[in-house]
Symmetry: C3
Subunit: 203 residues, 3 copies
């Protein structure tokens, strides 16, 4: 129940990040809705397609779509007064959404009898996939691939989640442990601008 609420919260936050990018690209209102949608449900859609969990989740539960539409309406109004939002609001909200999405991806994969390694990958895909498609559509090199410990936080959160399940920790506790791990790492990275050293061949 709490997870479901957090899932909707994550959907709203990811949709809002799509709206913001659409605004910068001066898209028309329906372009905004499209970009918000792919950001919010793109990752989970690829996950479900790969698992064979079709029809994909937002076809069977249309609440996701309603959350996206309402988010688009609200954020198109709020965004015109960006100064009223504190700078840390969006990254922190994004970190919460990310952490929840990873946990949901891990759980769904395990329900489809995937191995723990695949479950971690499905978690990363659920968390990072939408933002990745959003950036591709907006013709930017995906932030997910470059930003301070973004995918890294997802991977570690997923590993904690599946490891806890492997040693027979209670399912809800394992989920929470995964969420808290992803969230803590992301918030730490945001607060102190941490980043892994870029890998680059010697010139």
């Amino acid at each position: 129940m709490l997870i479901y609420f957090l899932d909707m919260f994550g959907t709203a936050v990811f949709a809002a990040s799509g709206v913001i990018l659409a605004g910068r690209l001066r898209m028309d209102p329906f372009g905004v809705v499209v970009l918000a949608s792919v950001t919010a449900i793109g990752g989970g859609t690829i996950r479900d397609m790969a698992l064979g969990a079709t029809p994909v989740f937002w076809i069977t539960d249309t609440n996701y779509l309603w959350v996206i539409f309402v988010t688009c309406l609200i954020s198109m109004m709020i965004i015109r007064r960006p100064r009223q939002i504190p700078w840390y609001f969006l990254p922190v909200a994004d970190a919460i959404g990310l952490a929840v999405f990873v946990a949901i991806g891990v759980e769904k994969a395990l329900r489809f009898e995937a191995s723990p390694m695949v479950a971690v990958i499905m978690g990363v895909m659920t968390g990072c996939g939408g933002g990745l498609i959003r950036d591709v559509l907006a013709r930017e090199i995906p932030m997910v691939l470059r930003t301070e410990v973004y995918a890294t936080a997802c991977i570690l959160g997923g590993i904690v989640h599946t490891s806890a399940l492997a040693i027979h920790v209670d399912s809800t506790v394992a989920t929470m442990a995964g969420i808290i791990t992803t969230l803590t790492i992301r918030l730490t990275a945001i607060r102190w601008h941490l980043s892994l050293p870029a890998f680059a061949p010697r010139q």
Copy 2:
């Protein structure tokens, strides 16, 4: 039957738009075929994957592929004499293809017991998905997200289509109403260069 004919027509038109873009990027002949194919069948492929309608449509009915190949051959010859084609030919043909694709997407989704809202989204996906992938591959910000009432026309066409079915209008009539709605809006937008005001945050 008429729908099937129009579907093939739409496939040909969309393939041709892929050929034109490939020509501008100076691709080799098989790159041309690839770009034409993703434009013509990309949207429907994602729709079928999301619905779980696999194998996807062009695997079971290879007529789509033949139409694409023949279109590539013909349009590679015609395109060398672009002056012989009136300027409005391509946009008008594209509008017809778009309107038919939306209707086909709506119908397929309903056949898979999707809700009306999901059906409209599947219609938009079928109509706009191919052009979107085409532009991503050609490294342009998708026209679909920027152009005058393009996605908008699809959404309204889809709403008319599903609403007509909801009040028990005959299925063929509902389909036609949807097609005509999408087509009329697109043609109007093309003729008078209408566009929705871009949404952009105040600087």
Copy 3:
């Protein structure tokens, strides 16, 4: 068995090409893994989604993922001394991987009762899909669509493969004939810098 070994070899080579591009874009280590993964398994994933062969192959056989991870580790170390690798190593290895991937795609499609034409397309998709997604993520116009007879080699290899099966050649022989065709054409193109004339409309 030989095919399976070559498949793993192809996976490693494609992953390495993702690592190299990631290095040029100065991604962090996990961005490297993501780019390597989409390059190595992206094409086969789309193929399986389209065929309805879900869960997709790397979910049921996690060896692919291990090969990718190990390749990332090794190539991040080797790549710092690029001068020790002869220039032709990567293109030749890539050609071998490509030829094997095409054959595997053709076979998988036929096992799912696709027609020969669809099987050829699935072969091309398996061989070229990953590199295409890699280049889209890295914001380049896909090399696959531009390079000297790349997709072309795949198409011809696939045609030889399916034609051999159609005249009842032994399955293993047909596979080998397809692999050798793709490989020979690619190696010839690499050696003499062959390319098809670009198709472009007269200005």
